[in-house]
């Protein structure tokens, strides 16, 4: 399974034509303790770059963008019920939504693991 990243600190894990999307460990550290999450409903469709989910800590609020174009298969109800999962396991149990991709070739423009690490190194 490939894992790719965006410059907005989201990760995408592709399994067939379904991508699981979440925010990276770096992103959750920057936010601090997450207190609220809103995830999209199954069936809703998003264009690449559209606001698909919301994540809030006490001091910051941020949108989670659809990293690719597609239809939502599932939003993660577990993080809605317990937002702390986003902090404790951001790249596992703390995933945000799964989407069926319209154009898997969009993945080619994403950062791979090495490129994302490089980005983090630049941010210090």
């Amino acid at each position: 399974m490939t894992v790719k990243y965006t410059k907005d600190h989201e990760w995408i894990r592709l399994d067939g034509d379904v991508a699981t999307v979440g925010i990276t460990g770096y992103a959750q550290e920057q936010l601090g303790d997450v207190v609220f999450v809103e995830v999209p409903e199954a069936g809703s469709e998003f264009e690449l770059g559209a606001e698909a989910a919301v994540v809030e800590s006490v001091k910051a609020a941020s949108e989670v963008y659809a990293p690719l174009t597609g239809e939502i298969v599932e939003g993660n109800q577990a993080i809605v019920d317990d937002p702390s999962l986003v902090n404790s396991d951001p790249e596992g149990e703390g995933w945000f939504f799964k989407m069926k991709l319209s154009d898997p070739s969009q993945l080619d423009d994403m950062l791979d693991d090495a490129a994302y690490r490089e980005l983090l190194a630049e941010l210090g």
């Binding site: 303790d33 207190v35 609220f36 809030e56 800590s57 006490v58 001091k59 910051a60 609020a61 937002p83």
Partner: protein, 955 residues
């Protein structure tokens, strides 16, 4: 009049440092005089002292002058209604809250630990609103009923799912509410249709209208059953807002019980004087599902470091200081002092007391209705709570009745079309009813206090309200006095210590300035009272407008905006109207530097503008090259630049004139955010160096107290080309000829607190104002210099000086010792201080603004505390104390923790509570340990906690 003798003037009392201390402070800075300091702080091209030249008055002279003005106001029995009612402020609340600096000098409760008292009071207010409206959630106040209804308009838009994009407004809403909604809707492109909800909503719900706004009871007094309308709206996916009268809800089925989605209104008649329009607290109650979209501040319950209940402001991510252009509203300052008075009025009267008051009002209204009918007067409404509307047929007949009532010193409402309105309140008695009957041509008619009717049987309230013990426990004056004192004692206000909040200007609110606001001649005046009864107000307002024009260099002033954020919004509306009048309908880009207050982008969005962010350079100044590029790129649609001056970084930017010139040459107008006007008064005038419009925070620079989070007054000053567009009022002639409309409900906003600023300016005189500004700059630079080396000042001007505030870099303590800015802020509580502004405008830093009013002794005490804290941090770094058990991370220390039998910490109890000897003289104990923000936002509770919550925690 000759100037008061030196050493005896008010200015000498207002300014903290003594004259013999100033030289030593100047020595610390290496300058020889205040003039030299100023010449090295303010750019020479804009430094032009003067403008306002009047000699100072003494306190006695100013009060006598104001008394003469007050005496020209006529206190009549107001029966005008329209959302403003006479009421009795219980004297125990008047003396212990409204006239008490422990309540009125506090700041917004951002630092939760030292604000527990007023947050408990605000919880009582929220609970009162929740219970009376029958809703699930209420915020802790908005600015007035009109703006609350306008906020409901946008809230329904955010949360609604209907297709329609128009708003339907009940024609029987108060006229000023309709005006404020229309003003707010225009730039957002929301079409507003005003009509009869029973006949004009046969079609269009959902499809056309996403929401409706109703008034309950109607502005003419009728109580209408909206159940069917509400049901139809919901079936069509539209939302329903109800503007309601709070006292009527004691007797009426609350809107929450018949399906309202949002309920707004004014809490004025709960003990707050009418004050010629304000300030009063408005409320907004809503369904719980809307809580993340609600505008304004919300007090919530959380726990502290001991696991005990503690209050805090909840869900702050909704607000402008975090969300900026995506915020739910631009509101920041609310009406805390007035909300607390209203909440305490409810606490003091309890549900039975409120019921008695409401029943008395209703029975008198019924008696009046019976008397009028017996006299052959036709009434427009046969259902009523406190208001009747009589149809006299023609205007001449109505005028005659109104004139006869006026002769009896009673003001009735003139609809202008042959209808006359009569509104009763808790101050009305049988003699007033007899006088009204006489005015209607029925002298000597009997007043039947047992007259039936008024409230439709199926709209009579059946549910209980205010069952929480707090509404049953403080009913004797002794109990109430002690409750108020207990809450006050939990909080840290200016009567206890300096509140060095950068950008907030927590200066002295002198007693002489505060005295006039509770004079009945200012308090008991209805905002729509006839002109001949408000001559004193007019004189004071005209004089204050003149003073503000002279001080700022602007040509005209509008006092209508009720807060700085409203001033921003009003100023941008004026700019928008100016462009539209010139046919520039495409000008909608607003340039905003990245360092701006969060309100700026939030206000720009409300004014229908698109925000383009301008970068700042490494010194924190506006990046002029970036500004130029963006202004030129948008030259065909540039509307405005919003620029704070001196900058939010506390520096007089040298390039300000060039910045204004760039914007003007590209067709834009310059809006100056006046948050930092404090640094300029008397030294330079924004109206002379480029800005076209600016707001002034009278609650910062001009001494109106912060009230624990409001009231505020945010007038705007404009150059003459913008004067035609100034805000107006639909009832009272005011504002410009081509006005943008009403931005708030009352013509002169919060008129009753304007005497505070008038008195301050009059007592300081031109020279005194200059000296205050100089001393504000001296105090800030003194702190910056004394702390240099321990905490470096992040930004300074060309000669190394700051303006009236300084940003202290506390980040090295985090990097080197792991001590966060939060730890420092909370540890300052143990030292008896309110923390400076935290993490704004630069994350991880503290911004300090001492103001001119702080004595040198207090500045030195603060400096001592800050240095002692740095020493403590070093010990953590050196390993003397563990990173997770030291006086900083455990701060603030409560008395129960320090005095417990068990003490298992790595430092002493004395170190915890009395780290410097001065604390043995006066010690402020934090009532709670560090408040857990995360817990509070994960478990949102915004109602009064049951008493068991405290018992459980104690066990």
């Amino acid at each position: 009049m000759a100037a008061a003798t030196v050493g005896d003037s008010f200015a000498d009392r207002h300014i903290g440092p003594r004259r013999d201390e100033i030289d030593s402070m100047l020595d610390v800075l290496g300058v020889s005089s205040l003039d030299e300091l100023v010449s090295k702080t303010v750019p020479p091209s804009i430094l032009k002292p003067g403008g306002y030249e009047a000699a100072p008055m003494s306190e006695a002279q100013a009060l006598a002058r104001l008394r003469a003005m007050a005496d020209r106001n006529v206190i009549a029995k107001s029966m005008i209604g329209m959302g403003y009612s006479g009421c009795h402020t219980p004297p125990v609340i008047l003396r212990n809250v409204l006239e008490n600096p422990g309540w009125y000098t506090a700041y917004t409760p951002y630092q939760a630990e030292i604000s527990q008292g007023r947050m408990e009071a605000l919880m009582n207010y929220q609970q009162t609103i929740i219970d009376l409206t029958g809703m699930e959630l209420a915020n802790s106040s908005l600015l007035d009923e009109g703006t609350a209804a306008a906020e409901a308009m946008t809230l329904m838009h955010r949360v609604g799912k209907a297709k329609g994009d128009s708003l339907f407004v009940d024609a029987r809403c108060h006229p000023q509410t309709i005006s404020v909604i229309e003003t707010r809707a225009a730039p957002l492109g929301i079409p507003v249709v005003v009509g009869d909800p029973f006949t004009d909503l046969q079609s269009g719900l959902g499809e056309t209208y996403y929401g409706i706004v109703l008034q309950y009871p109607a502005t003419d007094g009728a109580i209408r059953d909206f159940r069917a309308v509400t049901e139809q709206a919901h079936e069509a996916g539209a939302l329903v807002t109800v503007a309601a009268d709070l006292l009527s809800l004691v007797l009426l089925t609350p809107p929450g019980e018949w399906g309202a989605d949002i309920v707004v209104g004014s809490a004025q008649r709960f003990g707050v004087p009418m004050g010629y329009g304000g300030p009063h607290a408005a409320f907004m109650a809503a369904k719980d599902a809307f809580k993340r979209s609600l505008p304004g501040r919300l007090i919530g319950l959380s726990i502290d470091s001991r696991g005990k209940p503690a209050y805090r402001m909840a869900l702050q991510t909704r607000e402008q200081h975090i969300r900026r252009e995506k915020a739910t509203s631009n509101i920041c300052t609310a009406q805390v002092l007035l909300a607390n008075i209203a909440g305490m009025y409810a606490v003091y009267h309890g549900p039975d007391g409120l019921t008695r008051i409401a029943q008395q009002v209703q029975r008198l209204t019924a008696a009046l209705a019976a008397g009028l009918k017996a006299a052959g007067v036709s009434l427009a409404n046969d259902s009523f709570f406190d208001t009747l509307t009589a149809g006299l047929g023609d205007k001449a007949a109505a005028d005659e009745v109104i004139a006869r009532a006026r002769a009896e010193n009673i003001n009735l409402r003139d609809f202008g079309d042959g209808r006359v309105g009569i509104s009763l309140d808790e101050t009305t008695d049988a003699a007033d009813i007899a006088a009204v009957l006489s005015a209607f041509g029925a002298p000597g008619a009997s007043v039947d206090m047992d007259a039936p009717g008024g409230i439709p049987a199926d709209l009579a309230r059946t549910s209980a309200f205010m069952e929480h013990p707090v509404f049953h426990s403080h009913r004797s004056e002794t109990a109430m006095m002690r409750y108020l004192n207990k809450l006050e004692g939990k909080d840290l206000a200016l009567n206890r210590a300096m509140i060095p909040l950068g950008s907030c200007t927590m200066k002295l609110n002198a007693a002489a300035e505060m005295i006039p606001i509770t004079w009945p001649e200012f308090g008991q005046i209805h905002p729509f009272a006839p002109a001949d009864q408000v001559q004193g107000y007019k004189e004071m307002i005209d004089d204050l407008e003149r003073m503000l024009c002279e001080i700022t260099g602007f040509d005209a002033v509008s006092l209508q905006p009720n807060a700085g954020s409203q001033g921003e919004y009003a100023g941008l509306l004026v700019i928008r109207a100016y462009h539209l009048a010139r046919g520039d309908s495409e000008r909608n880009i607003c340039l905003i530097p990245s360092s701006a207050h969060g309100t700026n982008p939030a206000s720009a969005v409300m004014a229908g503008m698109k925000v383009v962010v301008v970068a700042c350079d490494d010194h924190g100044n506006v990046d002029v090259a970036d500004l130029k590029a963006k202004a030129e790129a948008n030259k065909d649609n540039l509307a405005a630049l919003m620029v704070t001056y001196p900058s939010t970084h506390g520096v007089f930017e040298e390039a300000i004139e060039e910045i204004c010139e760039i914007v003007h040459s590209n067709g834009g107008q310059v809006y100056m955010d006046g948050a930092n006007l404090q640094a300029m008064v008397g030294l330079c005038r924004p109206g002379t160096f480029g800005p076209d419009v600016s707001h002034m925070n009278l609650h910062k620079t001009f001494c109106i107290p912060h009230g624990g989070g409001g009231p505020g007054v945010g007038p705007i000053g404009v150059k003459s080309h913008l004067a035609p567009y100034l805000p107006s009022n639909p009832v009272v002639a005011s504002g410009g000829d081509e006005t943008v409309g009403a931005v708030s409900a009352a013509p002169w906003g919060s008129a009753s607190i304007l005497p505070i600023s008038w008195t301050y300016i009059a007592m300081m005189g031109g020279e005194g104002l200059i000296r205050a500004t100089q001393m504000g700059i001296l105090n800030a630079n003194y702190i910056a210099k004394k702390l240099a080396g321990t905490y470096d000042c992040l930004y300074t001007g060309k000669h190394g000086f700051v303006a009236h505030e300084c940003i202290l870099d506390t980040r090295p303590l985090k990097d080197e010792y792991g001590i966060t800015v939060d730890d420092i802020a909370k540890r300052l509580i143990d030292y008896g201080f309110h923390a400076p502004t935290m993490s704004w405008p630069v994350a991880g830093t503290l911004m300090v603004e001492p103001t001119e009013s702080e004595p040198k002794e207090e500045l030195d005490r603060f400096i001592e505390a800050m240095i002692a804290i740095a020493e403590e941090a070093k010990k953590v770094g050196a390993g003397d104390w563990p990173a997770d058990d030291n006086p900083l991370v455990n701060a603030p220390h409560t008395v129960d923790v320090v005095t417990a039998n068990e003490w298992a910490h790595a430092y002493s109890r004395e170190q915890a509570a009395f780290p410097v000897p001065g604390l043995y003289q006066a010690k402020y104990w934090s009532p709670v340990g560090r408040v857990d923000n995360v817990y509070g936002d994960r478990h949102v509770v915004c109602t009064c906690p049951p008493l068991e919550a405290y018992q459980d925690a104690a066990e």
